[in-house]
């Protein structure tokens, strides 16, 4: 009985706290503006399934891909067991499904065990890879401190979770094999791993010790799941839940600009009007803060795994420029979290208009995304799409970079001075260079060249 009450308290608290944090992240993501995701739904769904189940892109680097795949599947499948743990916990029963599901139960739990064993090995390899081997993308400046600790912590949690599972199943097996209390410990059949690992580890122990260990393993399991859920919002491993596909290379047309250009050129589209000129304030173009990005961009930032594959293929980064696409994502996430905290504080000095309440539309803390991401970084991008191609969770790091560039050029009229002659040439002559010769001079030249060679 005490156990049941304790369980109810712990799990309600655990799930509740985690839920609150997820709501906050949802709020932070929605700091970003709208995004049209209606288009191409089947393609998106297909992509999503491919990442989730196939880890499609990761297979470009097969070793970590296989390891990740094991971890991912083990993590997802293990959660089936959670259903039973919850029912057991609230009702005070033990393995409710064991008897009713019979052989199928043995199959499921065995399946989980095999995956868990794989996950155990994968986790160890990861720990070694990350800490003992020198893989350059794990050692970049933006990985100092927390991100590396984060990666190690999650691996540690995974190990504790797995220890919990095997302790719980192993001791249970020994209890069943010795027929110590068949009424309370139903027959689970021969579990794939515990049927040999259990006796090996817990063979000679007394019934009491076995009972205590079994409970300890069970509690460790559910506690780790709750810790995991509460830790997730602070961690890059949010990508477990958020990874969702992106379109590549294509850029949205900015309708406000299109109307302006059309009216300037005298092309009468249906909605080509003078809305913009009539507005009192000039609208802002591009993004200088999270508010100017789309929610999809912010969600990308929250689902970035910080794996650094993007940075390791970025030509700018490879040649020693400051730009690192991973850092761009991390900066966006940090800024969104920062704004979220400031909104929660309700303080007056974050208000743009002191009379109105503090909301995301009435927010000004005197800083913006450019305080995190320098101009030097965004100028170095060649828009080569290598980062987009490399990202295993289909994040598009290029999109926010281009939005920042747009802000700089269109709203601030700033940006690299070298670009000005190019813009001027385009506006005046329709070519990227101002040239005195006609555009098809080469064709005229061909005639004389052929005459010469004849």
């Amino acid at each position: 009985m005490i156990q049941q009450i304790l369980f109810a308290l712990v799990s309600i608290l655990g799930f509740g706290l985690a839920g609150r944090q997820f709501m906050k992240i949802r709020r932070n993501i929605l700091l970003g503006g709208e995004e049209d995701v209606s288009g191409n739904a089947p393609q998106r769904l297909r992509n999503m399934l491919l990442i989730a189940f196939g880890q499609k892109k990761m297979f470009k680097r097969p070793i970590p891909a296989v390891l990740h795949f094991i971890l991912y599947v083990a993590f997802v499948i293990t959660q089936i067991e959670l259903i039973e743990i919850l029912i057991d916990g609230f009702t005070g029963q033990h393995r409710v499904f064991a008897t009713s599901l019979g052989g199928f139960y043995t199959f499921i739990i065995s399946f989980i065990e095999v995956l868990s064993l794989g996950a155990f090995i994968a986790t160890f390899i990861f720990l070694i890879r990350r800490n003992a081997l020198t893989i350059p993308r794990f050692k970049k400046p933006e990985m100092k401190g927390w991100p590396t600790l984060d990666a190690n912590l999650i691996l540690l949690f995974e190990i504790i979770l797995l220890v919990g599972i095997f302790t719980m199943n192993g001791t249970d097996t020994v209890i069943q094999q010795n027929n110590l209390d068949p009424a309370h410990y139903p027959n689970t059949g021969n579990l794939a791993v515990s049927s040999w690992l259990g006796p090996m580890l817990f063979g000679g122990l007394s019934f009491e010790s076995l009972q205590i260990l079994e409970r300890a393993g069970w509690w460790l399991h559910i506690l780790m799941v709750l810790v995991f859920l509460n830790y997730l919002p602070h961690s890059k491993h949010l990508h477990f839940l958020l990874a969702c596909p992106t379109s590549r290379g294509e850029m949205e047309n900015m309708p406000a600009i299109m109307n302006e250009v059309k009216s300037m050129m005298g092309i009468g589209g249906d909605d080509a009007g003078t809305d913009m000129a009539m507005e009192e304030e000039l609208p802002e173009f591009g993004a200088n803060d999270v508010f100017g990005l789309s929610w999809k961009n912010v969600m990308d930032a929250y689902s970035c795994t910080e794996c650094g594959r993007c940075t390791s293929v970025c030509p700018a980064n490879i040649t020693g420029k400051k730009l690192s696409p991973r850092k761009i994502l991390m900066d966006i996430r940090d800024r969104a979290t920062d704004i979220g905290k400031k909104l929660d504080s309700g303080l007056d000095n974050y208000k743009a208009n002191p009379e109105a309440p503090l909301t995301k539309d009435n927010f000004d803390d005197g800083t913006n995304l450019f305080d995190h991401i320098s101009r030097e970084e965004i100028h170095a991008c060649t828009t080569c799409n290598a980062c987009v191609e490399a990202c295993p969770v289909l994040i598009n790091p290029l999109e926010p970079i281009l939005k920042l560039r747009r802000y700089e050029i269109l709203t601030e009229s700033a940006g690299p001075a070298d670009w000005l002659p190019m813009f001027t040439a385009l506006e005046n002559t329709g070519a990227v260079w101002s040239m005195p010769t006609p555009r098809d001079q080469w064709a005229t030249d061909m005639v004389s060249e052929q005459a010469e060679s004849n």
């Binding site: 047309n253 050129m265 293929v313 030509p315 269109l410 070298d418 385009l426 080469w442 005229t444 005639v447």
Partner: protein
């Protein structure tokens, strides 16, 4: 004024004709001395294979790609809407271009602005011509057995997924095609994209084209084949910087082919 060998859409229209395909030359192909050679080579190939084509001539304007990548959406849309008006006026259906940046804009970005065309890159056209038997290369020509490496441009490769057509064209040369370590989806940028062509680099250890050219030289190839006027410039700069300009040639696919049909 001497009569041009290359008809413009305006001339064709005045004779009541519509060419099969429009050759989109682009800013580099029109004005850059190096890229002009590619333009001329490609025109010669099209003439030799009797393709019914025309250019826009002075009615062509930059697609706006560099402005868009730099963040200047305003200038991009001005260029794009202007071009779409011209293209639609001539009822253009099919376009070929030797520039992957023009290719990408015309193919992927113009449709949402009202310009719908069937756009192919010149390396794809070359491959089709070979496949259809319209373009016959003298087997055992100049390149037989020579090492050629191929540099994927970002906007033809990664962005548009065209990796095989240019490689098939190169295979026709009977040359020894050697890949660089980073190729196809993993290909390294030449450093020109994103309007970098028009500005100085940010501080770093190295220029991007140097990084790329070192990789290309490692293959031991005497010819670096490219498909983009900006890549050509960048790669040539890299080769010259390494004082290899007498040993290693940087050439567009059209230039490699045109030498074989004369």
């Amino acid at each position: 004024m001497s009569k041009s060998l290359v008809p413009t859409m305006a001339q064709m229209a005045s004779e009541g004709k519509e060419p099969e395909i429009l050759f989109w030359v682009g800013c580099a192909g029109s004005f850059d001395a190096r890229a002009q050679k590619v333009t001329k080579a490609f025109v010669k190939i099209m003439q030799a294979t009797e393709i019914d084509f025309a250019i826009l001539g002075n009615e062509e304007s930059c697609t706006g790609d560099p402005a868009r990548r730099a963040g200047n959406e305003f200038v991009f849309q001005m260029q794009a809407l202007q071009n779409i008006e011209t293209l639609n006026m001539y009822k253009v259906k099919k376009i070929v271009t030797a520039c992957p940046h023009c290719f990408n804009s015309l193919k992927n970005e113009y449709p949402t602005l009202g310009g719908h065309y069937d756009v192919i890159h010149h390396t794809e056209l070359l491959q089709q011509l070979i496949e259809d038997g319209r373009l016959k290369l003298e087997g055992g020509g100049t390149f037989q057995g020579k090492k050629i490496t191929y540099h994927d441009s970002c906007y033809l490769g990664r962005v548009n997924g065209v990796y095989e057509a240019p490689r098939k064209v190169l295979e026709e040369l009977d040359a020894d095609l050697v890949e660089m370590k980073r190729c196809k989806t993993n290909g390294l940028c030449c450093g020109a994209g994103g309007a970098q062509m028009f500005k100085e680099d940010e501080p770093g250890n190295k220029r991007i084209n140097v990084e790329r050219i070192e990789e290309a030289l490692e293959t031991g190839a005497g010819i670096i084949a490219a498909n983009c006027p900006f890549c050509l410039t960048m790669m040539q700069d890299g080769v010259t910087g390494k004082n290899k300009e007498n040993e290693v040639m940087v050439l567009d696919l059209a230039e490699l082919i045109v030498d074989q049909i004369n």
